[in-house]
Every structure is written in structure tokens, then in C-alpha cells.
Symmetry: C2
Subunit: 348 residues, 2 copies
DNA sequence: AAGCATAACGTAATCGTTTTCGTATATGTT
DNA sequence: AACATATACGAAAACGATTACGTTATGCTT
């Protein structure tokens, strides 16, 4: 059996009044008598009437849906961002439509198109790795549908809102902290330099080294292609073979940091006495490994909430035909200092 | 400025033909001349025409959206399930609308209602912890909108499809394995017994103990309320204080198992020589900790794909007005045997 | 009593597509 | 020549809710 549904017309017919009156009664308009409202409400409850938001959406030209496009969902950072987005959306009465690009440009284009066809009221995007052209967002711009980028944002696009994390500062403070704790030769297991965030963290590392007069040495930079635990393990072995006097490692993310920790312990190095270790992203597991891993925490939930709030403001502004200025928000990271990088003298 | 959009009528007027012809030309209907098709296609491209799927949805009475309701998204298991769902949905041309209940019954009810109002073509649900009544799904049943439950499924509802993991068997095989490796006294750090899955794992533990003639001892059962690393740590200390001869621990999930591992090492126990350890869920980190943690892996991606596939089949069947039988799928777990539980005699 | 305001509802257009019937012209058949 | 068959398109009615305009009946003012 196929679908059947209760409509305004059903209620109207049953009550012998017009659909207009039923609609207004349900919306509690002032020019409907209390008696009629009561009758409508009761019948609606009895028949389990539920408004068809597709029909309402067509008429009102809004879907009450916001689209979210992310590279990957199986990822603590992104899933937290989505949680933040969904919180804000729910509070404002919006639903969330989700797509995952798997870092593929083509999928991103297809997803963007699908979102537009669904007439989402606004779009939240974190770009795929491969993405370096932005024409697929043009339909949104031309139709005045707000788009807010977060985390991985387009470098060239000018008139859009963005929410990012201050990767540079996070990395800078992490490395500076390591130097202050006595590190003299710090390696950096960095991410792919095609990625915006990875570049910023790399630059933070470099500037901290420079500021404190330590020598810059490119052979202390190791490129993680996949950002895995395994890469952390192998690079840890590599760096200490090439640089036996390396006494600190700063990693692009905790996965790599944890891998390095495992390898260092296997090789018999003491952390932080022989080699200090600082990661990025502050995974849940990091605070309970042995020793607890210092890490730069990113406000992922906050990022989702901020991005969604900005988007909703822009949606409202667009609907009410008022101008708005694009926002560029940079969220602060926080260095979580733990035993893996604590003062070498004090450490056991 | 508000929204403006290109419609079929715009194309029709520009070309001096009817909207019906334009619509059919775009859908490549056979009774439209190649010349007209070409003209339409070209203008559509030029004006960047994109069909309004809200309007189409209203007319065709389908949204091409499937709703997904889960307790939590910041969770490796659930985010993997969602990934699986999105893969299948994308291949079939469906979009995904997502809600998170945060384990709250009231939120689940509100989300279910929102999904229905959005006229999703089908619904995928993993129930909230608190949920023990199912009336909120009635509108779906009454309107013949397919619903498929996964992971946390309703015990009482009869005529719905379900996809679950064989927790019982997974736990049974894990504990049996520990016994075969020489464990004589195995503790179980179990989950809240209000949860279906936790109960099944608990029963698997009990039956394996029984089958192999080991004594059952309720004081070896520890109740994790929050399923955290910290609980694993504190219970590990507790159990070895109360039962110095405990030589194996099976935990409700890897978080707890990893916590136990940390505490055991701190206290100077060797793993697995003194105490063997097996977790559940097979976290990514588990294969690289020291020693690698044995764990029961759940096919999370597979679960998402299966649930989505079944839902799509039911959507098609409903649309074509053919009957379908509800499915009950139980997915197999797989015991990943690693050093943390390997034969005590062989272990170092 | 004429005029006006107000309360409470109805009519009908509208949103953008899809789809069911047509219809007109051209072509082929006998 | 009469008829059937294709071909290529159009008119108009859906889909269900919203809303700009009416409209009617009643009460109130002066």
C-alpha cells in the first residue's frame, strides 16, 4: 500500500470550513474565533495531522534546512563540529542535511549541486583536500543563498564568511613551550603542505624556532601523507637515527604523536627527559596515555556552533532583505600541557 | 536582496514553448524532437537552471531524503555507521537528513516528528537510552513510511526491520578465547544493564564461563556507568585489590580496556602474562598501543550500508505498492586477537 | 437610520514541477 | 480519398500549504 496523508483539505471538509481558516487556526492567527480554533485543534490531534513542510516550503520559498558538506565524518574533530552545528540548528528550528566528500573534488561538486537542488536555506562547507576551484558554489552566490566556510576555507574567495582555528598560533605556542622547557633540537612531523591548516602549523613551528634563535634545519621536517599512528612510529625511528640529539617532536596531530610515543618507548627513550612530545587536536585518549600527551586543543564544538550561528544570521538577513557584512572568525586554540613535555629537569 | 531563481517557466517563455515541453526535454523524454531538446539544454546551461526538488517533491510525493536518528554523533561507531548510510544513499540518489538525540527520549520524539514533517521517504533509527515507548513512530507506520532500526532496536515492536550486531556471540567468543589461552579467573567490566547490547555481552561472558566449567562470581562484574577510560583505570585497581588472582579482564568497550591497560601497567602487572585483556569495538588506537589490545570488532560501516540498503528496498517496494517482508539482520563480529590476550605460556 | 468599524471567515492565486489528456500536423496505408 | 498512425507539442490539473484580498454579518456611533 502506498502513502496516504492527512491534509488541510481533509480537516476543512470534515469541519465544513475552508483550508484557509484551518491553516490560520493552526497557526493561532488572531482573526479566527476561539471556538473554531478549538474545533480545528481537536480534529487535527484526532486525525494526527502533521503539516507537509514540503508544500509549505514551496509556497514560502524556504526549506528550513541547512546543508553541511564535510570531507569526512569518521573523525573526532568533524563529528564534534557537526554536533555543534546540529545544536544551533535545532534550537533555531532548522534541520540538517549532511554530505561527506571523502576529500574528493568531484564528490564535493555533486554534493553542492544536490544541496542547491534541495533548496537548502544556507550551506556550511569544509573543503575537500583536492578542491582548488570554487565555481560550484556560484549558484549559491548568484541566488543569494548564504554560504559559510569553516576549518578548510577557500583562500581566494573574498566575499564569504569563514570560521577557522588559529593553527599558526597554536603551533607557535606549542613549540615555544617546548623550547622554554629546555628543548634544543625539535623535529616537526608535519601534514601535507597542500593543506592550509598544515601549512599554518608548519609556519608556527618555524617562527617559534626562529624567535628563540634555534637553528632551522629542513631535515627535521617529516611529511606525513596519511597522518596515521604508523607514520608517527616510523618517523620517530627515522629522526632519532638521523638526529640522535633530537630532544623534542611536535606533530601535526595526536595520531602521529601517539605513534611517536609508542616508537620512542620501544626504543628505550624516556619521555620527556630524552625527547619531549607535543601533539595537536587533543584526542580523548591523549590525556590518559603514559605519559599523558601534551596537545593543542581545537574548539571543535565551538567552531560548529559559531559557523552555524553566523549562517543563521545571514539567512535571516537575506530573508528580510537587509545587508550584512561577511565575518572572519578565528578561534583560539589552547595548549594542554601534560607530562610528555614538562620541564626536563623536573621530570623523572 | 532576496532569492531569485530560474524556473521552468523562465526557460519556456524565453524559448516560446510550454513548461511541459521544457520539463520533458530536460528529462530526455522520447516524444520531444532532438532539435527542441538541444535548444532547451543549451538555454538551461546558459541560465544555470537547476530543478527545484521541493516543487518536484510536492508533485511526486517523495522527497528523496532519508532521515537518520542516532543517539550521538561524536562516537567512532556511530559516525562509521553514518558513513555507510551516506555511501548507499548517495549511490541511490538519496540525501541524508541527520538528527542527534543525545540519548534523550524527548529529543528523539521531537526529531521523529521533524523528520515526518519533512516527509522523508524513510527513516533509520538507533534508539536513545531513555526510550521505552514507541508511539512517536506511529505516524510513520500509519502512513506506510518505512522505518529500519539499527544497533539499539526496540524489543517489543514486531513488524519492523532491524539490523544489529551479534554482541552475544562476540562476547562469548572473546571470553572463550581467554579461557583457551589459560585464564582461570576473568573479570568483566560491563556496561549499563539497561542497554540491550550491554546485556547481551554480559550474557555471552556468563555462558562462556559456564560452558568451560569456571566458577561464576558476581563480584567479578563491575558496572561502568559512563564507559570511560577513567572507569577502566579505577576498576582495574579495584578488581586486583579484591581478587589478586584475577588473570583476565573482558571489557564492554575499548575505552574501558585501554583504561585498564594503563592502570595495570602502572601497578606493575604484565600483560598478558599476569592479566590478559580483551576489549570490544576495536578502536583504531587499540592495534598500536603496547601491547596491542585484543578486541571484538563490530562491522559499523557494514551495519550502516545494510540498514540503508534494506530501507531503500522498502521505500521502492512501498512506492510500487508491492508487499515486503521485514528483515532481521544480525551481523557477525570478529575477534581480533592481539598480544594483550595471547597464550600466557608463549608470552614474554 | 445611515455610516462605519470590526470580527470571522471564504476565494482564489501562488509556489515550480510533473503528468494526464488532448490536439494538430505530417506521413503512410489501402 | 478515406482512414490510421506517428510525431511533437500544449493546456490544465494536480501536489498541499500560505496569503493577499474580499465578503458578510454584527454592533456601534451620531
Amino acid at each position: 500500500m502506498s502513502r496516504k496523508q492527512v491534509t488541510l483539505a481533509d480537516l476543512a471538509q470534515e469541519l465544513g470550513i475552508s483550508t484557509a481558516t484551518v491553516s490560520r487556526a493552526l497557526k493561532d492567527y488572531p482573526d479566527i474565533s476561539p471556538a473554531t480554533k478549538k474545533r480545528v485543534l481537536e480534529l487535527a490531534n484526532k486525525l494526527n495531522y502533521r503539516p507537509n513542510s514540503i508544500a509549505a516550503g514551496l509556497r514560502k520559498r524556504e526549506s528550513k534546512i541547512i546543508g553541511v558538506i564535510i570531507p569526512s565524518i569518521v573523525n573526532h574533530f568533524f563529528s564534534s563540529v557537526i554536533k555543534g552545528i546540529m545544536q544551533v540548528a535545532y534550537e533555531a528550528g532548522y534541520k540538517v542535511m549532511l554530505c561527506q566528500t571523502d576529500e574528493s573534488f568531484e564528490k564535493e561538486v555533486a554534493d553542492t549541486r544536490a544541496m542547491f537542488d534541495s533548496r537548502v536555506d544556507g550551506l556550511l562547507v569544509s573543503l575537500a583536500h583536492e578542491t582548488d576551484s570554487f565555481d560550484h558554489f556560484k549558484p549559491f552566490f548568484e541566488s543569494n543563498v548564504p554560504v559559510v566556510f569553516f576549518d578548510k576555507v577557500p583562500p581566494t574567495l573574498d566575499d564569504v564568511s569563514r570560521v577557522v582555528v588559529d593553527d599558526y598560533k597554536g603551533a607557535f605556542l606549542a613549540v615555544e613551550h617546548m623550547i622554554q622547557q629546555g628543548c634544543k633540537k625539535i623535529a616537526h612531523f608535519r601534514g601535507p603542505q597542500s593543506a592550509y591548516t598544515s601549512r599554518n602549523r608548519n609556519q608556527g613551528y618555524i617562527d617559534a624556532i626562529k624567535k628563540h634563535g634555534l637553528p632551522l634545519d629542513d631535515s627535521l621536517l617529516y611529511d606525513c601523507a596519511h597522518i596515521t599512528i604508523e607514520e608517527g612510529q616510523s618517523f620517530a625511528k627515522e629522526v632519532l637515527a638521523q638526529h640522535p640529539d633530537c630532544d623534542g617532536i611536535f606533530t601535526i596531530t595526536d595520531a602521529v604523536g601517539l605513534g611517536a610515543m609508542i616508537a620512542l618507548k620501544e626504543m628505550g627513550y624516556r619521555i620527556p627527559k630524552d625527547v619531549a612530545l607535543v601533539g595537536f587536536s587533543d584526542w580523548e585518549i591523549s590525556k590518559v596515555v603514559d605519559p599523558p600527551l601534551s596537545s593543542v586543543s581545537q574548539p571543535s564544538l565551538q567552531m560548529g556552533r559559531q559557523a552555524a550561528s553566523i549562517l543563521l544570521e545571514e539567512i535571516i538577513a537575506t530573508r528580510d532583505e537587509v545587508d550584512y557584512a561577511n565575518k572572519n572568525v578565528m578561534l583560539d586554540t589552547k595548549l594542554q600541557i601534560r607530562a610528555s613535555s614538562l620541564s626536563k629537569e623536573l621530570a623523572v
